[in-house]
């Protein structure tokens, strides 16, 4: 059965590579920075989707980091036991349990109008849907991954270290800043990597909220607040419509890129955690 597992992974890899062969052959490495995606003209460039994926994921990551660190510090250090701590921890875990389709649906009907008013206030084109909206929802969805790992790691900090600092007269903030944070830095970073892996591959909520245009934005404002597309969302939208081999295999090549990026990020994250817990 374990062999089966290895076979599944090899099968996944083989299928992706084999089926994207036509596009790899026809387009070469230039596929990655081709700026135009026009299936009608048979021109395929992944650049708009790479940018869209990176932009949504990184904005989401930046928004999520203060929250996930705060949760990790609060539940790991300030309040590790008791009913309030359990309640908050279960609630955070529940955030990860809600299906992404529900976040997408809610975002489409509740968040989009709010963002639209906000965009009118700050004077950018009021699309409502777009990169920023998707990033907001993504940020909420990925917080639990970094947070729950962070809680475990901060609880693992040996108490003699903390007690030593207290004995020297350090305040709680100073203990967190100069003892707990340096001790758990690599582990917390791994948690952020796992969050990033989630964000890169997230499909449904983003597909519903990002607006799905394959054009490269003409200004920074439009890149952040305007509609876009990610690798996952373009696959979700166009896969069943792809009517000729080259189109289909270009989409699969996007899937292959997505697969590699998420796998590498996840493995690095896992490696760091294993190293951390073994020490």
């Amino acid at each position: 059965m374990s062999i089966l597992l290895v076979l599944i992974i090899l099968g996944v890899l083989a299928t992706l590579i084999l089926e994207s062969m036509p596009s790899i052959k026809a387009l070469g490495i230039g596929f990655l920075w081709g700026k135009i995606w026009d299936p009608v003209q048979n021109i395929y460039g992944a650049y708009p989707f790479l940018v869209g994926t990176l932009l949504t994921s990184f904005i989401a990551l930046i928004i999520s980091i203060p929250f996930s660190y705060a949760i990790a510090i609060y539940l790991g250090e300030y309040n590790p036991k008791g009913w309030l701590s359990d309640l908050l921890k279960n609630t955070i875990e529940l955030i990860a349990a809600v299906p992404s389709i529900i976040y997408g649906f809610w975002g489409l009907f509740v968040l989009v109008p709010i963002i639209r008013t906000f965009e009118m206030k700050i004077g950018v084109a009021p699309y409502g849907i777009g990169v920023f909206t998707s990033s907001l929802i993504l940020a909420v969805m990925i917080i639990p991954y970094a947070a729950s790992l962070g809680i475990t790691l901060i609880r693992m900090v040996p108490s003699p270290l903390k007690e030593g600092a207290y004995a020297l007269g350090a305040t709680r903030y100073e203990v967190i800043k100069s003892v707990i944070m340096p001790y758990t830095r690599s582990g917390l970073f791994a948690g952020v990597l796992l969050s990033l892996g989630r964000a890169l591959g997230e499909t449904m909520a983003v597909t519903m909220l990002i607006g799905n245009t394959s054009a490269v934005a003409d200004s920074l404002n439009n890149a952040i607040f305007g509609p876009g597309n990610t690798m996952a969302s373009v696959i979700a939208n166009e896969f069943t419509e792809a009517d000729h081999t080259e189109y289909l295999s270009a989409l699969i090549e996007l899937g292959l890129v997505l697969f590699f990026v998420t796998v590498v990020i996840n493995l690095i994250g896992k490696r760091i955690i294993t190293k951390f817990t073994n020490n």
Binding site: V6, V98, G104, F105, N266
Partner: protein
């Protein structure tokens, strides 16, 4: 000196305030989403809604029976595939942690956990949908089974690793053959932990939409055939939420409510099992 200590203490208190603020604020989006879905969905749900297939645009009524049945059937088939495989792999990993195969399959579990669900959809499309020439519930189930595997494997492995070695040694010293020790001693002892992994994996895949887009596809009629396209709750929500009709939006709100309830109940069941099991250990 006094002033400096006062300043440091204030800074500490302010920092705690900020941390507490951020830690609790993040529950707000969840609470808002939950309340909104419940408010929008609960008015839609009634007996008629649960026992009818969706009505065409313009007609009143209609329900989500096809999606409920489809989700149930596909998740069941996925579980039937994933649970034995996952448990076997988990037992292997916990019994032989140092072999080369264990290392590589452990690596594969990690990889599988990180694979975006949409990629699983693509791959299963080429494995089953294309050779058969039609979207099918079977392919949807396989995609879900692949998504379930890592959770089942990891929970089995971790539960069994926590069991004391003396348990196994006692059984072996009584002359019980190895396979019976595994089946009759080790697995029953870790049963609750494995069960919690199973419920958790079902909770995870029941809301998965992306792998079903190119596999089970969706079907506006009630179907029990595994070789035909089948509707599922998340896919129904996706199609109807992105449609321009208000009737269909309402249908999707009702379906979201039902899906959310399933997920919440499964998660609570998981919590109860793990808590009970931890007390017994």
């Amino acid at each position: 000196m006094e002033a400096k200590i006062g300043f440091r203490n204030t800074k500490s208190v302010i920092f705690k305030g900020i941390v507490v603020f951020f830690a609790f604020v993040i529950t707000l989006p969840l609470i808002i989403v939950l309340i909104y879905i419940i408010k929008q969905g609960i008015t839609q749900v009634n007996w008629h809604f649960l026992t009818n297939v969706p009505a065409p645009v313009g007609e009143k009524g209609g329900g989500i029976l096809n999606a409920l049945w489809g989700s149930f059937l596909m998740v069941m088939v996925a579980a039937v595939v994933a649970i034995p495989v996952g448990m076997a792999a988990g037992i292997y990993l916990s019994e032989n942690p140092r072999t080369k195969l264990a290392y590589y399959s452990g690596l594969c579990v990690d990889i599988l956990q990180g694979v975006p669900s949409i990629v699983v959809g693509i791959v299963v499309y080429f494995w089953i949908v294309k050779p058969l020439g039609t979207f099918s519930a079977l392919s949807g189930s396989l995609a879900l089974a692949i998504m379930m595997l890592p959770i089942v494997i990891r929970s089995t492995e971790q539960t069994l690793r926590l069991l004391p070695d003396s348990l196994k040694e006692a059984a072996l010293s009584l002359g019980v053959p190895y396979h019976r020790v595994i089946l009759k001693v080790i697995v029953p002892c870790g049963f609750a932990g494995i069960l919690s992994g199973i419920t958790l994996s079902i909770a995870r895949v029941i809301g998965e939409t992306a792998p079903l887009l190119f596999t089970a596809f969706g079907n506006p009629y009630l179907s029990s055939s595994l070789t035909k396209p089948m509707e599922s709750l998340p896919h129904l929500i996706f199609t109807y939420a992105t449609s321009p009709y208000d009737d269909w939006h309402n249908l999707a709100w009702g379906a979201s409510f039902i899906l959310l309830m399933f997920v919440l109940i499964l998660n609570i069941v998981t919590k109860v099992i793990t808590r009970k099991w931890k007390i017994q250990l």
